[in-house]
């Protein structure tokens, strides 16, 4: 099973196994990882599952749709490497993915 590492804003690492096909957001909720709220439940409507993706990984992800970019405009302190974790689907290729959660989501 692919391992995903969630890094908190103050650097605490939490590596968990997330089944292929789930999203990085769901992986966080199922493993009680703090820092991802996911208020809208993954319908790309709230920007509270916002994460920063380490640069090396960022380019390996499928590009964000327009709708995701629009929602990222609403996120708390978005950066170049911002993504919505509900739109990143875990695959074997993403084994080892590291993402950082922002200081807060709202």
């Amino acid at each position: 099973m692919p391992k995903i590492t969630y890094i908190s804003h103050d650097g605490k690492k939490n590596t968990v196994e997330v089944p292929v096909g789930l999203t990085v957001m769901e992986g966080a909720l199922q493993n009680d990882i703090q820092g991802i709220d996911a208020d809208c439940g993954g319908s790309m409507a709230c920007a509270t599952c916002h994460v920063y993706v380490q640069e090396t990984w960022f380019n390996k992800l499928e590009k964000a749709q327009d709708g995701e970019q629009d929602m990222l405009d609403m996120a708390y302190e978005p950066k170049k490497n911002s993504r919505l974790s509900c739109q990143i689907i875990v695959s074997d290729q993403l084994d080892g993915l590291e993402i950082t959660t922002p200081i807060k989501q709202t």
Partner: protein, 338 residues
Amino acid sequence: MIKTDAIIIGAGPTGLFAVHQLGIIGLKSEVIDNLDRAGGQCIELYPDKPIYDIPGIPECTGEELTKGLLKQIQPFKNNFHLNQRVEEIKQENNVWILKTNKGNLFSAPNIIIAGGVGSFEPRKLSLKEAEKFEGSQIFYSVTNKALFKDKKVTIFGGGDSALDWALELSKLNEITLIHRRNEFRGAAHTLSEIKKKEKEGKIKIKTPYNLKSIEGDKTMTGIEIENEDGKLEKIKNDYILSFFGLIMKLGPIADWDLNISKKTIPVDTESFQTNKKGIFAIGDICTYPGKLKLILSGFHEAALAARACFKRARPDETYRFEFTTASKSIHDRLGLKK
């Protein structure tokens, strides 16, 4: 004090259908919502997005679903109490008393919480200093346009609200529009109007920039913005308007001792009652084994909670299950002509 059979907190699809389910079994309800209109997430987050999993409706938008539900509950003539949030609840002899932030009082044997993920509030600027000037020089909505006449106004955001206000206020003075990326999201017509105003010098566009700091002690005199490469720029301004959409906050419900965890309220799946007798939770806000956050689940939950409300609202009557196709009393409640 408004007395009723059930008070519904939240006017989203689940709350609206609860009005219906209470109505057909002869119970009155009042609906309270923090927004200025009914519809909840359907109307605020995805009014134009099609929904494909409402039984019997192959495709409808959030707005269409809301309109349909409002039409469906019309016969029950319930009241909506909008633009207000329930602040306090207390129990007096088996009856719940609710008070909203506008001071309105309600009493009922039943409360149905259909609050979704919480009430909607504008997303605020992340800088701490922004709080100091909120309401005097920094605004998240426009109530008095005249305030901005001949003043330096900076607008943050890249969506419809930011663009529409930039256009509207550019009639009064020069506007600076700041957005974190180069693309704006808006109607084609709006975008071309913005371009036109930019050429005329009425709107200055700064992208891709974010707010870095706010200058001024008692009065805000200007701001500093930063782009992705760390380039800084100072802008003198009198007012900031910020449009970063809405967030959802649980608010006072969190303090009602309902065993909330992960922003959801545990309920039993027979009546959707919480740990407090007479307080029910339905829709996205409730949780139980197997819970799905679907609108259709909310409808089912509303139907069962309504029946449970009957027992508390009419303790001396026997509830009798009836079908809408065949029941004369339901037809009367729906106002159907004989």
